[in-house]
């Protein structure tokens, strides 16, 4: 009933977004394609596809397999490199006036540093998200995100190169997500993004071949939502003052609210864009009407408000 305005803005630890809905890296390219379906300004920010210092070719096909309520992907971080981003994608993004979060990746600490350095003075880039779910060439291809020390070394190197806020994007494929979060925060991360995809595999029973050319891939979509909500909840409980960008299987505003109740400050929408490239704006409007209907004045009012007894 009340025509009271709902405050959707969120503070991600030093920078504000006018609403809590961003895109998940790798699920929105740089926004240009989806702009045919929506006004990007309906988003809190665009998190662009992870970029590397040189172009990465990506993996052979098939790169995707549908699974129950989800999908597996093994894209191999195909991207045209940070220089292409700065020269082509970013100027276009600047023209749309949407804030940009730059996701960066690499196979060595040095590579992460080089990309970060190039972003130092990038306009419109309000934060850098560090995708540490990458194999570490200097440690037998173990993912950076699977080891607290490797996580810390990447994050501290990146924070030394850019003075923009740095978010560490964590993998759920570890024994303790909070302890990796701790390493990232100690190394200077301003906030935590989670979760990246869950490792998985599918096999074609007729050909006996893995359904992905990359054999193992990342599971995303509604199937992983409970895993993601729990990860956000655990990290928020461990570090209540740290901003979290929560993601994993968010399809609609109800899912987004669930993440915010678990402790997410903002939410990122990934796989859902593939099905509905305008979904980000719809979720943002859905959150607003959910809050208004229930008399909440702001999205901050429900953050972390899941009721736990005892």
């Amino acid at each position: 009933m009340s025509e009271q305005k709902v405050d959707l803005s969120v503070d991600l630890g030093g920078f504000k977004l006018k609403n809590p809905v961003v895109t998940a890296s790798g699920c929105f390219a740089s926004g240009r394609e989806a702009a045919e379906f929506m006004d990007l300004k309906e988003l809190g920010a665009v998190v662009v596809k992870s970029m590397t210092i040189d172009p990465w070719p990506g993996k052979p096909t098939p790169r995707m397999a549908e699974t129950p309520s989800g999908m597996l992907n093994a894209i191999g971080l195909q991207n045209k490199g940070v220089d292409h981003f700065l020269a082509v994608d970013l100027p276009w993004l600047v023209s749309t006036k949407v804030p940009v979060i730059a996701s960066i990746a690499g196979n060595t600490v040095q590579e992460f540093m080089l990309v970060a350095e190039k972003l130092r003075r990038a306009p419109a880039v309000v934060a850098v998200e560090v995708n540490i779910s990458c194999p570490n060439l200097e440690d037998r291809n173990n993912m950076f995100a699977h080891d607290a020390k490797a996580t810390a070394s990447v994050i501290s190197a990146v924070t030394r190169m850019v003075d923009k806020p740095v978010f560490a994007k964590l993998s759920p494929n570890v024994t303790s997500i909070p302890s990796i979060a701790e390493a990232a925060l100690d190394a200077g991360a301003r906030g935590i993004s989670l979760i990246n995809t869950v490792m998985g595999m599918a096999i074609d029973i007729d050909t006996h071949q893995p359904k992905l050319a990359g054999v193992v891939g990342g599971l995303s979509g509604p199937a992983i939502k409970p895993i993601a909500v729990r990860a956000v909840f655990d990290v928020h409980r461990a570090f209540p003052h740290v901003p979290i960008i929560g993601m994993g299987g968010i399809m609609d505003a109800k899912d987004a609210i669930e993440f915010i109740l678990a402790g997410a400050t903002a939410v990122a929408v990934g796989t859902a864009n593939f099905i509905n490239p305008a979904v980000g704006g719809e979720i943002s409007r859905g959150i607003e009407s959910f809050l208004r209907t229930r008399g909440f004045r702001s999205v901050a009012a429900i953050r972390g408000q899941v009721k736990i007894e005892g």
Partner: protein, 281 residues
């Protein structure tokens, strides 16, 4: 591109194998060009969530109360089974028209359409357009068996010359389309080839076309996550213009129609040796 919830105007079983659905969308129908496709979204509550890509079979511009787009498909899995259960007045969420269409030739006159199995679907719309712009159209359809030839009667109507090939000899030539192709090219004076079908067929048609000095446009398939260019799942290995390197390009926005000469048919893009790519994403 347009995203819309559209009404189903009609459902028809075309043959033992193929189903035709006609979807009401004046906006998409108006914008559609041959070779483009639609992304059809599964209904809510399903365990399969991704859109399914389907070529535009024909566009219906007659009448002015409703302009429709048609898709033709066979049942492969849960998504196509669900599609085949659609009936008039049901609704479906559609994105389209998607992808790069076939290029209508400016100079060449004699066009040969080569379709393999369900790959013949987009070539009807193309054939109609080519005929409408005064070109000569010849048709060569192949399939495993007669019932897997798409609309053979319409195909005969479409082609100045029409030939069929089936793996089991149940209709036309007993064998592959590529066995008929050199002769068709000669007899029809083919100047440009349009092909859609299985990967191996497209590779062979391209090779034969190029041997005859004829350009080949191929409409390709690959698993699609989004159909709108944002997920990078649907790539094909494509040579750059000067033939010095191969990069992965998206079937959904850079294709599905590619210049056959530019497709790296039997090459995979080599990983740069120093790059180790993540298991997911």
């Amino acid at each position: 591109m347009i995203q819309q919830t559209c009404e189903v105007l009609s459902y028809k079983k075309l043959s033992e194998e193929y189903h035709l659905i006609s979807i009401v969308s004046p906006e998409i129908a108006e914008a559609a060009k041959p070779g483009q496709f639609l992304g059809l979204r599964p209904p809510a509550g399903r365990s399969f969530i991704l859109r399914r890509p389907f070529s535009i079979y024909r566009v219906n511009r007659r009448g002015d109360w409703a302009t429709t787009i048609e898709v033709v498909f066979d049942i492969r899995g849960a998504g196509t089974a669900e599609l085949a259960s659609l009936r008039p007045h049901d609704t479906i969420d559609v994105i389209g028209p998607a992808g790069k269409p076939f290029a209508i030739p400016k100079k060449q006159h004699s066009c040969l359409l080569v379709g393999g199995g369900v790959g013949a679907v987009p070539l009807f719309f193309l054939g109609d357009e080519l005929r409408a712009s005064g070109k000569q159209v010849d048709v060569l359809w192949g399939a495993a068996t007669a019932s897997r030839l798409v609309s053979p009667i319409d195909a005969k109507r479409l082609g100045s010359m029409t030939a069929f090939a089936t793996d089991d000899g149940s209709e036309g030539h007993h064998g592959l389309v590529t066995e008929l192709l050199p002769d068709m090219i000669k007899r029809c004076g083919t100047e440009v080839i349009y092909a859609c079908g299985p990967h191996a067929m497209l590779a062979a048609v391209t090779r034969i076309g190029l041997q005859h000095g004829i350009p080949v446009q191929v409409a390709m398939e690959e698993l699609m996550g989004c159909g709108v260019g944002i997920c990078m799942t649907c790539v094909q290995p494509i040579w750059n213009k000067d033939g010095t390197s191969v990069t992965y390009q998206r079937t959904c926005v850079d294709g599905p129609v590619f210049n056959g000469a530019r497709v790296a048919w039997d090459a995979f893009v080599p990983n740069s040796p120093r790059v180790s790519v993540p298991e997911g994403n």
